[in-house]
Symmetry: C2
Subunit: 272 residues, 2 copies
Amino acid sequence: MALPVILLNCIGNEHKDYIKQQVQIKNPYLDTMEEDILYHFSLSTKTHNLPEMFGDTKFVCVGGSANRMRAFAQFMHHEMKLTGTPEDIRDICEATDRYCMYKVGPVLSISHGMGVPSISIMMHELIKLLHHAQCRDVVLFRLGTSGGVGLAPGTVVITDKAVDYSFRPRFEQVVLGKVIIRSTELDEGVAKELLQCSNELQNFPTVIGNTMCTHDFYEGQGRLDGALCSFSHEEKLEYLRKAYEAGVRNIEMESTVFASMCRVCGLKGVYL
Amino acid sequence: MALPVILLNCIGNEHKDYIKQQVQIKNPYLDTMEEDILYHFSLSTKTHNLPEMFGDTKFVCVGGSANRMRAFAQFMHHEMKLTGTPEDIRDICEATDRYCMYKVGPVLSISHGMGVPSISIMMHELIKLLHHAQCRDVVLFRLGTSGGVGLAPGTVVITDKAVDYSFRPRFEQVVLGKVIIRSTELDEGVAKELLQCSNELQNFPTVIGNTMCTHDFYEGQGRLDGALCSFSHEEKLEYLRKAYEAGVRNIEMESTVFASMCRVCGLKGVYL
């Protein structure tokens, strides 16, 4: 419950100077294409009027689970006192089961599945969607579950930098067989703004820290209960201790590509 | 339609010598645990009688899309002439939205989402499930969509080796911050058996070839219509030509971890 309440407190601030910009597509071919199909959203520039459907979007909130992102959209619908009943909101992507998407007022709520590849597909198509819809001043929030490192359960971690398994703030993207390194530092301004909102609310312990992104849930995160486990309890604790020393405060599976794509495309992103 | 028909033709052969073995868990802690929770299936050794629910499983079929795996289970229900109506099959994982799972006779049909991390979580929990349920002689089939390389659309590719972006038959698994290399060669016996089934049916062009696994759908696979694109049409074709020369016949996003986990755990796996 902490995340939507903190977010809701921020909604009024949508015209802050630091979010006054348009999403930048980094693809010279895109605007020359007759049609752009957003395959995994089941939307297209030919079959849908994207500016009409999405042009007023100011906040995009993404999270792994489809049910949770529906519940979040219903919560926001209720809190923003929109007309209609929250239970009747429609999944805009109902023609596909890859992701789900709900729009309530200026808030878009989208699921992204689990892991870097899954959220990466969603990010490509979301960024194109915001571009085609001519959206301006958009802030992207990731609201997700993660495992805390050295923190009391329930603590909200606002990500400073997303780091890889070696605690480096970088994302390795393979482009036609070549590895490209991209930076994963997130926007400081929005993170601080959010921390301040949280502090004012008082009820939700919140910290700013690094988030470590792994590519699996078991061996990469030191779990002893996977189908494969080749390390001891002590080795696991040693790794988590090193992570903590490197500033890691939580571990999850999507942050590096989220942060790197936000940076490249000039999108203000917050990762919770 | 090709895949279920080919598979159905194989169902009668469930007692082949090459599949006479039990799934091997490679985790010394697992059998000492009081309870094993399969978090992403919403199942547990304490709350569910796994041997009773799953003990007779002989074929596990997995694919990315939840809707498709439900349709596949309904198709198999119909073809195997089971009692009850195909439309009434129940999602065993309905308490979670991470994956869906249907059981029809000896066939288990499970969705795995998109990308290596997503299927990796499913594989860990599936292998533990088969172990707890004391299943024997199980064959695992992946039935999925993929992009063909130099093949007529609709051709079924049975994977020989899963290869990475450099066409190497290997999977890099990070274990507590260290990179471990695992082999990704799939079982030759089951692949040849499946090819023979397909040849007998005649209607479905089928080849055995390498499958390249990428970690994204756009930049890694040479698509010109992502939010980011830094290469030319010619560079894309050059990369695909090199892939073809290295034996790659299709490209998708989950094969390397599927193949490597099948090998490590002694599970006969076929990747379509």
